[in-house]
């Protein structure tokens, strides 16, 4: 069942569950952040509306800079503005920022310890028909490898709004990963959210009743696939498999306590993300658990391939990130668990 303490959307299981693009929450969050903190400025590289910065631009035209199609300049100009006391938000598609301007982000933003907030929209394979050139499935890896960078991958528009507003409260550079397409609304305004804290979104009723780990499985999911992970968990639960689903919105810094607890409780974990398996959220989880609570892990994600054109659903199932893939991974994991 959905974890009642998280106050998730009561209509989550409805067929016509409300949906919104995750990037929309960013746009609203940026506006709210700018209203409460006048240091916030916005810079965009010729994608103002599709990255949802247009709301901010409309309200604060004097604090908005149009950069043109120039993502490397975008990152370093933001660094300069931060050096003068601003809190710059920079937006483009994830493929171009942080895709194209990685070194500028590394040196001029992170190395210099500048509080620049990077919003990468249209991340993941579900960008769809634009094809492989536009499907950023490497961005989590690119960002989490840089010292100081905080990496957040919200699961819905509401969480994106909260993450955006809170990103202003921390000094670090922050990467916020956003999906283009409509995504079910999982959380509510009451759902607690903290940067760096994972949340249990789903837990089987008998999860704590069994004293042995045998039938238990932990799922750690991030971003737009959290909804699919929850749907999979519900089906597995109906089959008698005891599941707990952790929403890992902040990939870095990792909520090590939550991850270790889940690993100890279940003895086996499935990670779910719309990203290359190499270097992504699953890797972060595995790196930590290998040193603390080594357990078998199954990784749902892109297996060292480029994407292609198609509808989001076609692509998610083709590249092994559909609901059935998650269910199968859980069953494989149960076979692998030593106890």
């Amino acid at each position: 069942m959905l974890n009642p303490s998280q106050k998730l959307n009561p209509k989550l299981w409805d067929k016509d569950v409300e949906q919104a693009p995750i990037r929309k929450g960013f746009g609203e969050g940026l506006l709210a952040a700018a209203e409460s903190d006048e240091r916030v400025v916005g810079l965009c590289a010729d994608l103002t509306e599709s990255t949802q910065m247009h709301l901010f631009k409309k309200k604060f035209p004097d604090r908005f800079i149009e950069m043109g199609v120039a993502e490397q300049n975008l990152a370093s100009v933001a660094s300069g503005m931060a050096a003068m006391g601003k809190i710059p938000f920079i937006t483009s598609y994830a493929m171009f920022s942080p895709g194209r301007n990685w070194e500028q982000i590394r040196t001029t933003i992170c190395y210099n310890d500048m509080p620049v907030k990077i919003a990468g929209s249209h991340a993941g394979i579900s960008v769809g028909p634009d094809g492989g050139t536009h499907q950023a499935v490497e961005d989590i890896a690119l960002m989490r490898v840089i010292p100081r960078m905080v990496v957040i991958s919200p699961c819905d528009a509401i969480e994106a709004k909260k993450a955006t507003e809170l990103s202003v409260k921390i000094h670090n550079p922050v990467y916020i990963r956003l999906a283009k397409q409509n995504t079910p609304i999982i959380t509510t305004l009451e759902t607690p959210f903290e940067i760096g804290k994972a949340q249990v979104f789903f837990v089987s009723i008998d999860y704590d009743a069994v004293s042995i780990k045998k039938g238990r499985v932990g799922i750690v999911a991030t971003g737009a696939l959290v909804y699919k992970a929850l749907q999979a968990a519900r089906k597995l639960d109906a089959e008698g498999i005891l599941v707990k689903v952790l929403n890992l919105a902040t990939i870095k810094p990792l909520d090590t306590e939550a991850i270790e607890t889940l690993a100890k409780e279940t003895g086996g974990i499935v990670t779910v993300e719309e990203h290359q398996v190499a270097g992504g959220m699953g890797s972060a989880v595995a790196e930590h658990l290998a040193q603390t609570v080594p357990v078998p892990i199954e990784f749902i994600g892109v297996q060292d391939q480029f994407g292609q054109s198609g509808t989001p659903e076609e692509l998610l199932s083709h590249y092994g990130m559909g609901e059935t893939d998650i269910i199968e991974a859980v069953k494989r994991l149960l076979e692998r668990k030593p106890f």
């Binding site: 010729d46 103002t48 149009e66 493929m95 536009h134």
Partner: protein, 288 residues
């Protein structure tokens, strides 16, 4: 001028067919870019049906000219022109952007091997064509019979990499390189001169060591003349600033940056096809 009157008429008819296919494929795809493909149809027609040394039946013929589309988002015009030129069946155009199609949302060299490169992320096409031309010069010297063409957007010129490549091509005096800029004055967020002014664009290229021409990108005689001049210049690379009307051919869409990245819906497509079939009402459509 150098083109025969009958040739001009033939190219005009071909460009019209190519525009109709663009509208049809975008309607079928349900997403994609309209403005750039429509406004570059004349130049693509000229290149594929007159200027390029190529063989659609043997696309990897090694002595062919090379053409790189740097602004990959306008690929509907590339695909449509290539289909009409015989690279693949015109019927395949309706698979644009569909799962498994060779006609990826942005061009993919691996999927459609007759493409010289993949593009979509802006700004890197010029570097690649410069690389191709430099490699050819190593193998065949300065009198190589190949021509190297690169097509770019105007908003795309915001990218710093374009100017890195322009500087190199100027330094290397790559004389068999011709860049054609789709100067349609629009990009995603608005008109180019509001978003990131490019003017004086001709002076910028000249300062980088290029031979510069500015033409009406819808006038086949001028296109022919400019490409001829570009080939004749021996000590510099050439750039042709082709002034085009965004979405050229469908008056209802023309000059509007809103058409950069959306496809027509059914009514808009019907309207566009009617405009194109009747040459803007100049002739009666067969079925009206």
């Amino acid at each position: 001028m150098s083109l025969e009157y009958s040739k001009v008429k033939e190219l005009e008819l071909k460009a019209n067919d190519i525009r109709q296919s663009i509208i049809q494929m975008l309607l079928e795809a349900g997403s994609g870019h309209t403005a750039g493909p429509l406004d570059m149809a004349d130049i693509f027609t000229y290149l594929y049906f007159h200027a390029l040394k190529h063989n659609p039946k043997n696309p990897t013929w090694k002595d062919r000219d090379r053409l790189v589309l740097s602004n990959g988002h306008i690929c509907p015009v590339l695909y449509s022109t290539m289909a009409h030129a015989g690279y693949f069946p015109v019927a395949e155009l309706k698979t644009l952007r569909k799962f498994g199609s060779r006609l990826q949302g942005h061009p993919h060299r691996e999927w459609l091997p007759s493409l010289e490169t993949s593009s979509g992320p802006l700004g890197s096409g010029l570097s690649q064509i410069v690389g191709m031309a430099l490699a050819d010069r190593i193998d065949n010297g300065r009198t190589s019979g190949k021509q190297f063409y690169c097509l770019t957007g105007d908003g795309e010129l915001d990218c710093g990499q374009i100017w890195e490549a322009a500087m190199l091509a100027g330094k290397e005096k790559i004389q068999n390189l011709t860049v054609i800029i789709d100067r349609n004055n629009i990009q995603i967020d608005g008109f180019t001169e509001d978003i990131m002014p490019l003017n004086p664009l001709d002076d910028k290229w000249r300062a980088f060591g290029w031979h510069v021409q500015e033409i009406d990108g819808h006038n086949f005689d001028m296109i022919d003349d400019a490409v001829g001049q570009a080939h004749a210049v021996f000590d510099r690379p050439s750039v042709i600033i082709a002034n085009t009307i965004a979405s050229k051919g469908v008056p209802e869409f023309e000059r509007r940056f809103e058409w950069h990245g959306k496809p027509p819906n059914k009514e808009e497509a019907d309207l566009a096809l009617r405009e194109l079939r009747t040459w803007r009402g100049k002739i009666k459509g067969e079925h009206e």
